[in-house]
């Protein structure tokens, strides 16, 4: 299991409280490099909150989020980094980032964790192409000499910009939206907006891509196209995926690893096959009361398996 042997992201004892409300309670799981990891759970289980903690939009109340951008995150190295109070360390064994210490934009720019949003957040009034060029802000900013050289028209900014456009074109081509490059993003159909948001995130060259309900609101044909896109991203772009999803067809078809949470607590963790048959998961989804779960558990002699 890659999430045990080569973990990319290690979530340890993550807790998030809003006032008195505990949204996530001591949650630990890992996501493997090269895996598609699915985070599932009933509505209000705290999945999006986990995402917001990983991508820096929320500061976790407690817990550690160790991210090994390259190489292996050896436990000793992570602990040493934790004790220094620094945000990241470039160890010989690999680059480690502690995401809970970093502001949101640095998580994207340095640790290379990109994300999409449940309610699509495109730059609706900018064209499809502009959306993808904005996503390459940081390298382009450098190429424009932090605006100064670009303003004076010296340096290689024009060349870098056309490279950025080429990259955008190839992504657009891969999802069949090249024709609409000059249209406002807000004018695209819903399914295209979802996929545009995903390739916009890909334009930041992420190591881990977090997708918040990418299949929500899609019809079966669009869902199939989405699956294909996600597999391409995993297989051809060396990007691992972490996704929140309700559509079990997507989850079971493409994920390598599934983590189930409910009420902010992990209730199951394993391969799609394992999770599918976990009685706790079935209980959580079918809304069985706790006593009945215990009864079911005792009947089949299981206690959560891979936990």
């Amino acid at each position: 299991m890659r999430w045990q042997t080569d973990p990319l992201l290690q979530v340890e004892h993550l807790t998030m409280r809003f006032g008195g409300l505990v949204a996530i309670d001591d949650l630990s799981f890992t996501a493997g490099r090269g895996d598609i990891t699915a985070l599932i759970g009933p509505n209000g289980a705290g999945k999006t909150t986990v995402f917001n903690c990983i991508t820096g939009f929320y500061k976790p109340t407690e817990g550690r989020l160790a991210f090994a951008r390259t190489g292996i995150a050896a436990p000793a190295g992570v602990d040493a980094l934790t004790n220094t109070g620094a945000r990241f360390a470039y160890e010989p064994s690999g680059d480690i980032y502690l995401l809970e210490r970093m502001p949101d934009f640095e998580i994207s720019a340095q640790a290379r964790v990109a994300r999409t949003f449940q309610n699509i957040r495109l730059f609706a009034g900018m064209t499809v192409l502009e959306n993808l060029v904005v996503a390459q802000h940081n390298p382009l900013m450098q190429a424009s000499g932090w605006t100064v050289m670009g303003l004076l028209g010296i340096g290689g900014y024009a060349r870098r910009e056309s490279e950025a456009v080429d990259k955008a074109k190839s992504w657009l081509d891969s999802i069949g939206l090249l024709e609409r490059a000059d249209d406002p993003a807000g004018d695209l159909p819903y399914g295209d907006q979802r996929r545009l948001e995903i390739i916009r995130a890909m334009c930041t060259d992420p190591v881990l891509l977090c997708l918040d309900e990418p299949a929500a609101g899609l019809n079966p044909r669009e869902t199939a196209m989405l699956n294909e896109l996600l597999l391409t991203i995993r297989d051809e772009h060396n990007t691992s995926l972490l996704l929140i999803e309700h559509d079990m067809a997507v989850v079971m078809q493409i994920s390598d690893h599934v983590v189930v949470i409910d009420y902010g607590v992990k209730i199951s963790d394993g391969t799609p096959e394992f999770v599918r048959n976990d009685p706790k998961v079935i209980a959580a989804y079918l809304g069985v009361s706790d006593e009945e779960v215990e009864q079911v558990e005792s009947e089949i002699g299981a206690d959560g398996g891979a936990r």
């Binding site: 809003f18 999006t48 917001n52 939009f57 929320y58 949003f117």
Partner: protein
């Protein structure tokens, strides 16, 4: 010590006036999320209406009882000022509801400029002094180096403020109107679906805000005895500061904020520098917005991702 006590009394008096204006800001902001920039000028118009009515009542109708005259201008002023506010909402804001975000703000600023210049044109640019009203004082302490006094007008101001706030609080908390108002604050579309007449509720909010501003206008006139066409802007901004300080959308917060701003202004003038008293008020606005954007009694806002 005596000086401080005196300043405290003055501060509460001034703060009552700011608090009354602040309620208009806070209610309108609560219900349609807009800074009603013209509210300060509506207050100024109401002070002019009060001044003219006072002259009319005393000179033309020959009412000699000060209290009767005060009562008449209070009621008539509330009605006439409400009409102004209603008309402004109807003409300058309602057509822009749901439109581009900055359009109502620009429209409100335009209205504010219009009102100030309208009054300047029709009433002339000179200050309008009235003879002092309720000018007897009660001596609270004596013999010290400084006599602390409580003027009748200060009693009138605070008493009127308290009575009106009580009535107003009852309306907002206990009547169907208040319920409709709170529903519109939460979710205007849903309120409309449930059969609440949103347009009318918003109009009434403007009317109530203006009525309270008009009381503030009368009390301002009683306190200072003079009014000018340019008196809307600064008290308006201070009252909005009060609303923000107290927590925008919160009515008790507006009153509390008003009292605080009044106290700060008076104490700052007394102990630091009267030249910079407005700088103090504006600095409080900045500090309050930066460090406690939800104000003293407001609800904190969590960023939705």
């Amino acid at each position: 010590m005596e000086n401080f006590l005196q300043q405290l009394i003055n501060g509460v008096t001034l703060g009552s006036i700011y608090g009354l204006i602040a309620i208009g800001y806070t209610m309108v902001y609560g219900i349609i999320g807009m800074i009603n920039f013209a509210h300060g000028d509506v207050f100024m118009v109401s002070a002019f209406i009060a001044m003219l009515l006072f002259l009319a009542v005393t000179a033309f109708l020959g009412v000699s009882s000060l209290f009767l005259a005060f009562f008449i201008i209070l009621i008539a002023g509330m009605i006439l000022t409400s009409l102004w506010s209603w008309t402004i909402e109807r003409i300058a804001y309602r057509p822009l509801r749901g439109s581009f975000r900055l359009a109502p703000l620009i429209s409100a600023i335009g209205m504010s400029i219009f009102l100030a210049n309208f009054v300047q044109v029709v009433q002339g640019p000179r200050n309008k002094p009235l003879p002092p009203m309720f000018n007897q004082v009660i001596q609270l302490t004596s013999g010290g180096e400084f006599d602390v006094t409580l003027a009748y007008k200060q009693i009138v101001i605070v008493a009127v403020t308290v009575v009106l706030l009580a009535v107003f609080w009852f309306v907002v908390q206990k009547t169907p109107l208040g319920r409709a108002q709170r529903a519109c604050e939460q979710d205007r579309k849903m309120a409309a679906l449930l059969g609440i007449n949103v347009d009318r509720t918003i109009s009434i909010t403007f009317i109530i805000g203006a009525a309270l501003a008009s009381v503030a206008g009368v009390l301002y006139l009683v306190n200072y005895g003079v009014v000018s066409f340019s008196d809307g802007f600064i008290p308006g901004v201070k009252a909005f500061t009060a609303a923000v300080l107290g927590g925008i959308g919160s009515i008790p917060g507006a009153v509390l904020g008003g009292l605080l701003i009044g106290l700060v202004e008076v104490l700052w003038s007394a102990y630091v520098s009267s030249d910079y008293k407005n700088v103090a008020a504006f600095s409080i606005l900045i500090i309050a917005l930066i460090f406690m954007p939800s104000g003293l009694l407001g609800k904190p806002e969590i960023e939705k991702v």
